[in-house]
């Protein structure tokens, strides 16, 4: 096994759960997310020579897995922004958070999910979403504010 294949395996073993949980917001279920993660890593492994290394490996694999999740939903190859609508898998478990997330545009929601489900760094999110780190920081700050305004008046958590 070559060095790049080993790096992909290491990424999988360390980050599988985070990838699955974050992708579940796109796939709509953990079963669908699991399949998308498996497919995403399989595609990444098969085409690892195409990874140019100008972004993080995690972000590259995430984009492949995200595409696999959208394909599984029958989404044609269009701009991801046009079809992406990530949501919590079990919204009833946290109505306050669900309501707060609903105030965010889909792209911001995905950035939040990548941060808090997949434990992506700002740099990884920037690479995965094809934006600058500054944009990630600003988006997360806005998301934080929106969530705080939604949550704190309700006294969800003090």
């Amino acid at each position: 096994m070559d060095e790049r294949a080993r790096a992909i395996e290491e990424l999988y073993r360390e980050r599988y759960v985070g990838f699955r949980n974050a992708l579940a917001t796109v796939a709509g279920s953990y079963e669908g997310a699991r399949d998308a993660v498996q497919e995403g890593f399989a595609r990444a492994l098969a085409s690892r020579r195409q990874f140019r290394g100008d972004g993080s490996l995690a972000a590259w694999v995430w984009q492949i897995a995200l595409r696999a999740a959208l394909e599984a939903r029958g989404v044609p190859e269009v701009s991801i922004d046009e079809v992406l609508d990530p949501r919590l898998v079990a919204p009833e478990r946290d109505p306050s958070l669900t309501a707060a997330l609903a105030t965010l545009p889909p792209r911001r929601r995905l950035i939040v999910f990548l941060r808090y489900f997949a434990d992506f760094s700002y740099a990884d999110i920037a690479s995965a979403c094809d934006v600058s780190e500054g944009t990630v920081a600003a988006t997360l700050a806005q998301a934080h504010q929106a969530l705080a305004e939604t949550l704190e008046p309700e006294g969800a958590l003090q």
Partner: protein, 243 residues
């Protein structure tokens, strides 16, 4: 802080179950993919566009289409030729008379014939003319710069027939695919139909005297026959595997 607030909320929603399966990922990675198959067909179809040059005649060099081979591939052709010459020199020095069936290759004139994208990476077919107008070829399953291994052969001066399956049915095994290669000598043959035991029949275009394709790995596969057809679908020649 807001970060703590968010973290508290998300920590309750994370599914901690680890149902990962790396071996399943590896198995899935080895399966041929639809996209790969489409690329292969597209590559073959694109290559077919240059096939009419096969019928123009003239030097073999004129029949080999595509980009010039990289230096490493040219070196590989040259090395094989040097090794053959050395073998016959040793034999002559030892008083043995060996019949050299091959003509010297012209490495600097090597050209690309076909490229197929597979789950294992690209497969390239390079061909170089020989001094007597025949060809040598190299199938390279790996990096395009020639660092990875390849395999090939040359036309012998005593060859017979218009169809010559190499291998006898595949010339190398890759993790995901078997490589099929048929050398064709009749310029009227534009494509070949391969009958396979253990796999579906396949049809491959002939480019510069070569038909190259892949089939998915899995189970025992045996080549039963190769039928060479012209552009109208008429059978020009049939090769049948010996019993």
């Amino acid at each position: 802080m807001t970060d703590d607030l968010l973290e508290q909320h998300f920590s309750r929603l994370r599914n901690p179950v680890d149902d990962s399966d790396w071996l399943a990922v590896r198995r899935r990675a080895r399966k041929p993919r639809r996209r790969v198959a489409l690329i292969a067909v597209a590559a073959a179809a694109g290559a077919l566009l240059v096939a009419p040059a096969f019928g123009i005649g003239g030097r073999v060099l004129d029949l080999i289409q595509g980009k010039p081979a990289p230096p490493a591939v040219q070196t590989s052709f040259a090395s094989s030729d040097a090794g053959r010459k050395q073998l016959f020199a040793f034999a002559a020095a030892a008083g043995q008379e060996l019949h050299d069936r091959f003509s010297p290759v012209i490495p600097g004139e090597a050209r690309g014939v076909a490229e197929i994208e597979t789950a294992d990476g690209p497969i390239y077919l390079w061909a170089a003319p020989t001094e007597d107008g025949r060809q040598c070829w190299l199938i390279q399953a790996g990096e395009a710069d020639g660092r990875a291994g390849g395999f090939g052969s040359c036309d012998g001066i005593d060859r017979k027939g218009s169809i010559r399956p190499e291998g006898p049915m595949w010339t190398d095994q890759r993790p995901s695919v078997l490589i099929m290669h048929v050398r064709v000598y009749d310029e009227a043959i534009t494509h070949v139909d391969l009958q396979l035991e253990g796999a579906a029949e396949m049809s491959l275009p002939v480019v510069s005297g070569h038909a190259l394709g892949t089939i998915p790995q899995g189970g025992r596969v045996r080549l039963e026959s190769v039928v060479g057809r012209n552009a109208g679908g008429e059978v020009i020649e049939r090769w049948t595997a010996p019993e």
